[in-house]
Structures are given as structure tokens and as C-alpha cells.
Amino acid sequence: MDLLRELHDFLENNKDKDDILYRNEAADPPSKRIRLENTEEGTEDLNQNGALQHTLVVNDGNAAPENLTLTVCNVCLGVLQEFCEADFVKKVCQNVNSAEYEFTSFVFSVSLPPQLSVREHAAWLLVKQEMGKQGLSLAKDDIVQLKEAYKWIIHPLFSEELGVPADGKSLFDVSVVFAHPETDEDCHFLATAHPDCFKPAKKKQSVFTRMAVIKALEKIKEEDFRKHFPCPPNAPKNFCTVVEIQCTNSAIFVAGRYNKYSRNLPQTPWIIDGKRKLESSVEELISEHLMTEFKADSFNFSSSGREDVDVRTLGKGRPFTIELVNPHRVQFTAEEMKGLQQKINSSSDKIQVRDLQLVTREAIGHMKKGEQEKTKTYSALIWTDKSIQKEDIAFLDDVKELKLDQKTPLRVLHRRPLAVRTRVIHTMTSEYIDEHHFRLNLKTQAGTYIKEFVHGDFGRTKPNIGSLMNTTADILELDVESVDVDWPPALDN
């Protein structure tokens, strides 16, 4: 941190260059440094840190204080000048605080205009040249990058103003985007020299992305570069401007299991031609309260499989996760989660949730695995055309590992590929009701279409209850009794 303080002091006090040299040699970070022996090259002496450059520029003119005659640095375009000031920091922090986020640390991301990389490159070539005259070599990664230097200066300033430490792993991101339209064309010569580095532009974005420019700079030969770009670079008229200051919190994941007690509720909102076909949905009823409590921008609902509008989910319910995007509130105790769960449960009788808890992003993988691998059990109310007696359905109890060939059901064929799926019904038990009705409990492989197994779907699911019992059969009611996935962990509430 010594160097940072020193750099900062320098910017404010405008010390002369010999002093700076001495300090630089004594400073601790960065680990990679060079010894600058020759400093009489005027504006060619660059990039050990941009600060050095500024001294020279100012001294070449008159020794007047920075704020009156400070010209725009031709390497950093003002980033290390204007944007290390307390005013700037205060302005950004005002933005951050007014956004009302809950955070215990922050990570600062800065986006610099790509032409800065070009200018840094030019500066490096010049210093390398001078070093070469002394018989010293200077590799590009011996140089401290502008972005790094900027962050060294600005982190403690932000830290102090926000009252929390800077942490690379923080979930709370403060991002500032700079632009310098005046020099955007600096990069253009690279596209002519190395067109293969540049991909066609997407929508309104420029072809000259930072990554593409850096790639081209790595490839371009020194002679070619110096042919097209002045070393040292031209001095611009204006400073960089801040285009965007944005705060985002990483997404938070909430998991649980839901029961569905309505036969008139879709999983996701059912809207056709802008009109809602059915009121509400499973995901909205669960997410509504979470969105409010976590103060998130949006959510993504995901579950281990799903059921039709007219099917109930009983038993322990179906596992689900909700990704809350850019939550403003992130700290929740187990008690508070319990309270949230109760809130959700008391606000609707169509769904109920249990085991509501915070989980990691990896958790979603667990849940989706379950969708394909785990068994489900169902209870179906079946009608038969022919009149039946108890004996007629007894054989179903003995059927084990029944293999079905199911063509894509007609009811989903408009949005699914046409295929034949082999699925297994592991066990069944039947309960006689009357001459035309019985209840069937089934344990099946994941992905089995139960309704089609009962009514046959025009004979496209074989075998089916109708073919097994030599009659026409139909399904009147279906309930999911269990989804055999042991995740998320059960909580004792």
C-alpha cells in the first residue's frame, strides 16, 4: 500500500521527478518493476506508472498547479488524472449508496476504452527503445498495466468511502465504464494489419473490442505498429468520460419443494396473444414474495420436472430452485427463511412450499440430474368403456418393469421433436371403484407420459391400459404422489 499512497501524494503535490524515481525504487508492490535510469527523455518516459508522465508534461510547460493547466495525458487519457480524485470517488459512492444494496465487501471493475491498450503499447515500445540504448531489456509484462495502477490508487479510496474492504471474490460489483470517443479511431489501423483478430460486430457494438485489440497488439510487429501509430501518441483534447456507473450483486439461489393443490394452475404464466389464459402460475406464487424480500430485479424459476395444469403434486412435493437476479438484500438467517416460507404458505392455498433454503449455483445441477434419473409415483383415476369387475384389474398388481414405447404425444408434438421413447413402469397397484372406474397407483421411470399410457394417444403409446385390458380407457384425474429426489436437504420445519 506504500506505493499507492505515494502515487496519490504525488498526484496531489506534484513532486519533481528525481524524488519520484527514488520513491519508486523503494516502493513495495508491484513485484515486477524495472529500474528507470534515464529520465531525460521528456514525454517518452512513460508507463512505469502514468504519474511519471504527468510530471514531465507539466514541467515542460510551466510549473503551474495541476488543475489549471494540466493537459490530458496522451497515454492514460486522463484516467490517472481526473479519475483518481476524491470528487470522483464521492460521486461514484453516492451512486452506490443511493442504489441501496446490502454488501460487506466490493469488487471494482473498470472498463477502459480499447485505444488505451494501443497507447500503452506505444509507450512501452518507446521505453523499450530507450532501455535498449542502455543495453537493458524491457518485456511487456515488466510494465505495470494502467488498469492495475488505477485500481491500486482507487481501491483504498473507495474502501474508505464505502466503509467495506475491496475483495476480488466479492459478490458485490461496482463497475465504471469509461469512453473516449475522440480517439476511438486509434484502433482502426489494427484491423487492416490483422483482420483475423476482429470478428463481425454484433448489433450496435463496435468491432474494436478490448480483447480483439489486445490480440492484434500481441501479433503486430514493432515496425508495422510504428508505421501506423505515432510514438509517443498524440495528445488528445479531452479527458475520458464516464459512460456508466453500475452496481450489481451476484445472483442468489433459493431452493425448496412445492406442493400443488389446484387443478387449474400452470407452472409458468400462460399467455397467448398478450392475453392471460389462466390466472397466476406456480412460479409466480412462489417467487412473488421472494422478489419483494430480496429486492431482486428478476427471477429464473427451475424445477425437477413439472406437471400439467390439471395435475396436483402431493406428498413431499417437487424440488425447485429460484435464481434471484441482482438482489439488493443478501443476508438471511434460517429464521428469516422460515418466516418467508410461512408467508408464502399463508398467502395461497393453491401451492405450499417446504424446506425453503439458500443454496449454491451448483445445486441446480443436482436437481436437474434428478429430473432424468429419479423415479416418480402417481395416482390416476381411470374410466373404462367396458364394464369391469375386481378380478379384471387384479393382474395389474403383478406387472413389473413394463416397457412402453411412447411416440411423442400429439398434445406436445407441435413443440417437441417426433421420436419414440422407451420408458419403464416399475410397479402398479389397483383399487377397484365401480364397473367403469378404478384407481391406479404407478411407480415409473422419469419422463414417462402417464396420461398417454392410460388412453393410448391414438395407439401411439404401446402398450397402454386400453390394450392391456382390451377396452377403451380414459384418465379422469392424475396426481403426482412423489418425486423421488432427495434434494434439497429436508429441514425440520
Partner: protein
């Protein structure tokens, strides 16, 4: 009779087309709410009349085109044979020497023909509206509303049957 409406009644709308190609060759098109259509023979079609025995059902409709070769891939159903309303789906030969060409009746992509009819042609006569279906056709999305223009409702169909009965007496 079912106490509650069956699968067909719950999810499909019945449309009819009469005298397709030949007099009295009538069809019933079952249109699902998701716009998929199942082509079936109407109960008045000659093949479904008493005394007719089906000898053979042939899906090779031209020298170069067999409906059995229809291969559909992906969600957008690429590779499907495209059908116009009069496109032939198959030819049915009966034991009395009569031959009937079965037509698509609607424009769209052919999803599948009912291969069960090859092994068990009788099912066409036993369960013409369910297991004995002829083919499944997916109309173009843009045409899904107009595809049933020119088709008859159940009432209109029954009206035609009545008319035939009266004019023959």
C-alpha cells in the same frame, strides 16, 4: 357412451370434408388445440361400410414417393413431406376389387402415417377415429387458422348426409 367427454372431445375439434376426389369419400379431420391435425375417415366413407374387407394398404403413392419414407427431425420438423389438400396419403385395396385413394384434405407437413394399419388393416374399420387414424399433419404456423376454411362442422356434415339420403329416395 362415456360419462365424461373422451380424449377426442376434450382436446380436438371435429371438421369434415365430403366427396373428396370421388363421391361419398368423406373424411373427418381432428384438429388439436395446438393446431396438429389427425386425418381419419368419416363414418360415411365407403371403406367403413358393412361388408367391406380391406385387402391391402399401400403407402407408395408415386414411383418416387412412399409415405413410409417420411423422416422428420428436430423441433421444426425438417425433412417432412409437404402435403397439399389433394395429396395422396395411401391407397386402400378391398377384397371386392375396389380401390380408394386416401387424401390429406389439408395443407401441411406430414408428421407420420399410421404404420399400425400395415400389420392390422382391420383396425381402420374397428376404430377409425382413434387407433385406426390415417395420418398426422402439422399445418404451417401462418396457416393454422385458415387451414380449416372450407371444412364442414359436424352439423353441416350431418346436413349433407341427410341430403344424400333424401335425394336417393
Amino acid at each position: 357412451m362415456a360419462a365424461v367427454p373422451g380424449v377426442t372431445e376434450r382436446y380436438f375439434t371435429r371438421w369434415y370434408k365430403t366427396d373428396v376426389g370421388q363421391p361419398r369419400e368423406d373424411y373427418c379431420i381432428l384438429q388439436h388445440s395446438n393446431r396438429i391435425c389427425v386425418i381419419t375417415l368419416a363414418e360415411s366413407h365407403p371403406v367403413l361400410q358393412k361388408g367391406k374387407t380391406i385387402k391391402n394398404i399401400n403407402y407408395q403413392v408415386t414411383a418416387h414417393c412412399s409415405r413410409l419414407q417420411n423422416k422428420v427431425s428436430g423441433k421444426s420438423k425438417r425433412g417432412a413431406q409437404f402435403l397439399t389438400a389433394l395429396a395422396p396419403l395411401c391407397r386402400i385395396s378391398c377384397s371386392d376389387g375396389e380401390e380408394y385413394t386416401i387424401h390429406s384434405c389439408i395443407r401441411g407437413r406430414l408428421m407420420e402415417v399410421n404404420e399400425n394399419l400395415l400389420n392390422n388393416p382391420a383396425i381402420l374399420q374397428e376404430k377409425p377415429s382413434t387407433e385406426g387414424y390415417i395420418a398426422v399433419v402439422l399445418p404451417k404456423f401462418e396457416e393454422s387458422k385458415i387451414v380449416t376454411q372450407g371444412l364442414l362442422t359436424r352439423e353441416e356434415y350431418e346436413g349433407i348426409l341427410l341430403h344424400r339420403l333424401n335425394s336417393s329416395s
